[in-house]
Symmetry: C2
Subunit: 215 residues, 2 copies
DNA sequence: GCACTAATAAAACGAACGTTCAATTAATTC
DNA sequence: GAATTAATTGAACGTTCGTTTTATTAGTGC
């Protein structure tokens, strides 16, 4: 046999990406074999090499696109307001929504950094640092404006990101808590953690921020 | 050649454990080969099988002992006081100190769960759940006593543990912040996060708790 | 110093790995 | 409908894997 009826390059590539994210998240990059991935897609292992030259290229592509998506999502969600409380609320909401929607891809991006070559690791970390810097800027602005009470901006940013990203470890949609409930709770925990005082801004596109502070 | 001069079973086994924790933390369990581990110890691969019947047995032993150590450390650090603020402060201090001291082992225990067989995974998760339950109990007691303001006890416990454990990702001893500074910051963030009111207890063995609340 | 045990080396096992290559067939173009 | 291109198979390559077996040497007890 050779080319199969109905075979389509674009569809196969998409199926490979999807199956790879799922398998790597579940088994780990090293534990997933190319034959296993091919079987999941319904194809022979050799066919994978039409789309990704090596196994590591596949991993890198998945991670890069995940990080690009995260930065793009934040770019779209970033509020126009200068109020640090509103900006922080938007950051938390975007972060949680994005990561819960892509649990598997997040797992891959967080756990498989060590499987990348040095230069590719650097590329991914650059994107990650840029994303974290956005949060540090919000915290610093809030601190300078007297809206937050924070010991150390960098440490607080890491603690918040760690706390928020951790949601993918235990959260399962359709269980005890809804996404909205979880987001509301994380918002109020975040606002208390940074010692936010109540925001006096009139425009509040993110209605939960006020609530969070009040709690 | 065979037995080498100065060879000692106990010393070799200890060297194997130490090298394995370090290698698995750095490379991942699947990526570390038994030959690589043996080379690190300065021995042939076959010699490892005198101490651990399989590679997975080695991993499981490391993880089980890590979790046992964590539970034992908390058992020793657990304060006699009934004050939830004091108990929470002790939990945070113990958690951070234990995990920073054993960064590599913590990495292994958190990242390699998927490499365990089903029944061994269950064993480890049972210990982990018991440890997390201690925190949930403290939070619930504090909530009922009116000392904390918390949306959801379970969710808050997970968020706190995620935040605290995350310290091993970025903290390096001897850099910008000292262990004491990091611990103090995490304590104040924790107390604010749970909405702790000032503890009125007279006995305060963990002096930082009061400070944390005050911040 | 002789028997015995502990600790290791050396070599080999079959299986699985990532990857390559040539052959083959489906779809597309003209 | 012939020529061309796209997509895939099946077989094979050399390497490495976890593990086992056997032999050999260092230390220990008497």
């Amino acid at each position: 046999m050779a080319r199969t009826t109905g075979s389509d390059g674009e569809k196969t590539e998409a199926a490979v990406r999807e199956a790879a994210v799922s398998l790597i998240a579940r088994l780990g990059y090293q534990a997933m074999s190319m034959r296993q991935l091919a079987a999941e897609v319904g194809v022979q292992a050799a066919a994978l090499y039409r789309y990704f030259p090596t196994k590591e290229d596949l991993l890198f592509t998945l991670m890069r696109e995940h990080m690009e998506g995260l930065l793009k999502a934040w770019g779209a969600a970033r509020p126009a307001s200068a109020d640090p409380v509103i900006r922080l609320a938007a950051y938390v909401e975007n972060h949680i929504a994005f990561h819960i929607e892509r649990r598997h891809a997040t797992h891959v991006s967080n756990m498989e950094l060590r499987s990348l070559s040095h230069e590719r690791l650097t590329q991914i970390l650059k994107m990650r640092t840029a994303y974290e810097k956005e949060l540090r800027t919000i915290l610093r602005d809030g601190l300078e404006a007297g809206a937050f009470e924070i010991d150390d901006t960098g440490l607080t940013a890491m603690a918040l990101i760690q706390m928020m990203t951790g949601v993918i470890v235990w959260f399962r949609p359709g269980e005890r808590l809804s996404l909205a409930e979880v987001t509301a709770s994380y918002l109020s925990m975040t606002m208390r953690l940074v010692g936010a005082t109540i925001s006096h801004s009139t425009a509040r596109p993110s209605g939960r921020a006020g609530n969070a502070v009040a709690l």
